[in-house]
Amino acid sequence: METALSSLATILPLAADDSEFHAPSLADFFPPAVLFEGTPFEINRIMIVRFIATAALIIIITLAAKRAKLVPGRGQVIIEMVVNFARKGIAEEILGEKLGRKYAPIITTILFSVFFLNITGVVPFLNIAGTSVIGLPLIFALWVFALYLIDAVRALGVGGFLKGQLFPPGVPKFVYIVLTPVEFLQVFLLRPATLTIRLFANMMAGHLLLALCFSATSFLFLHAAGGLKVLGVVTFAGGVAFFLLEVFVAALQAYVFAILTAVYLQMAIEPDH
């Protein structure tokens, strides 16, 4: 991932200089303000995309809840499948029945929300994932971070929590010299940071790949000399392939985020297991 980021950093400015070929750049993720420029409430294109995804999700889930019947319709079956999967397949699978039941709602919320904010990356006219700018993944990660810190301290006390995390049982004493600093970093920095960066970098890279394929296709078809136009077919095929991949990645990253939420909660609250 690091190499990908650094190579991106070297490639992108070059591409941006080209006057004819408009390659995607980091500027895509910081579009000009639409409203309230320069204030903490600045609204740009990506914020609007997020609002649309949020509104769509709220409408869908509210309607599903309002129309929930004992004999479900087709839409309700799909929603219930995901809700059941989050509960049985993620929460209860990892946290056990009792804790799983307690945290299933939060894990379900994260699964739905992250998926909807990811999938905008492949929705026509929106074309960018709501999670491809770091703020939203960061807030989700901080939510998970606060949740496992607070609930673990509440369950085990400060001492019990720190002992469980920093001095994991079943290890020879001298290993703690190495293990304890690593675990400290894990619990207090790396877990929330990797949650954030994994999601945001995936969605960002997905957008860059898609935009690159399609802008190259359009450039090759419209401006390239005769023979090179054929290459446009290749880049278009690549674009379609990456489109399908991005649909999959949107779902996969939502699942990964949800399952890691469950795993981190489990490791914090039940360190003995």
């Binding site: 070297t10 903490p40 809700v83």
Partner: protein
């Protein structure tokens, strides 16, 4: 590694005059927070409890239905056992009744047979008794006849003019012959 990547990105960002993507803008944080709070509120306070309630209700209903079906099946099985029990009872009862009827029938046959035998014996006895009576009557009648004949003979003997011995002997001879002939006729009739 990550350090070089970040510095690389930083320089790239400076050149392109775009912010570092790893450092969130204030507005990004503000709106993200708003979105997460709204989503969390809608999901956790409204939508998920309601959906879960329906799911739980359905599970309960299905489980209740299954229990009910199980009960019904158990009841049906009990009814079947009871029915078969009754059927068996009825069969045994029928067999018993048939057995009784057969016994009674044979008893009746035996009884009528003895009664018939008794009747026959009685009839035979009556007949014999009647024959005996008739025989007695015949013998009494015979005896009377013989008396009358004897009296007749005596009067004949007394009333005849007994002139001579030859005549007298002819009379006796004739009487005895008559007597003998009537006796022989009587004996042939009696047997």
């Amino acid at each position: 590694m990550i350090g070089t990547a970040i510095t690389g990105l930083l320089t790239a960002a400076e050149e392109a005059e775009t912010p570092n993507p790893l450092l969130p803008e204030t507005y990004d944080i503000v709106w993200s927070l708003v979105i997460v709070i709204i989503l969390g509120f809608v999901f956790l306070k409204y939508a998920l409890p309601k959906i879960q309630a329906v799911l739980d209700e359905r599970t309960e209903l299905v489980e209740g239905g299954l229990a009910k079906a199980e009960n019904a099946q158990a009841e049906a099985a009990a009814a079947l056992v009871e029915y078969q029990q009754q059927l068996n009872d009825a069969r045994t009862e029928a067999a018993r009744i048939r057995e009784e009827a057969r016994a009674e029938g044979s008893a009746i046959v035996a009884e009528s047979r003895t009664r018939a035998a008794a009747e026959a014996a009685r009839i035979v006895e009556n007949a014999q008794r009647q024959i005996e009576a008739e025989r007695l009557q015949a013998s009494v009648a015979l005896r009377n006849e013989v008396g009358t004949l004897a009296t007749d003979l005596a009067s004949k003997i007394v009333g005849e003019s007994l002139e001579d011995d030859a005549r007298r002997s002819r009379v006796v001879e004739r009487f005895l012959d008559e007597l003998e002939a009537s006796t022989a006729a009587d004996a042939g009739k009696g047997n």
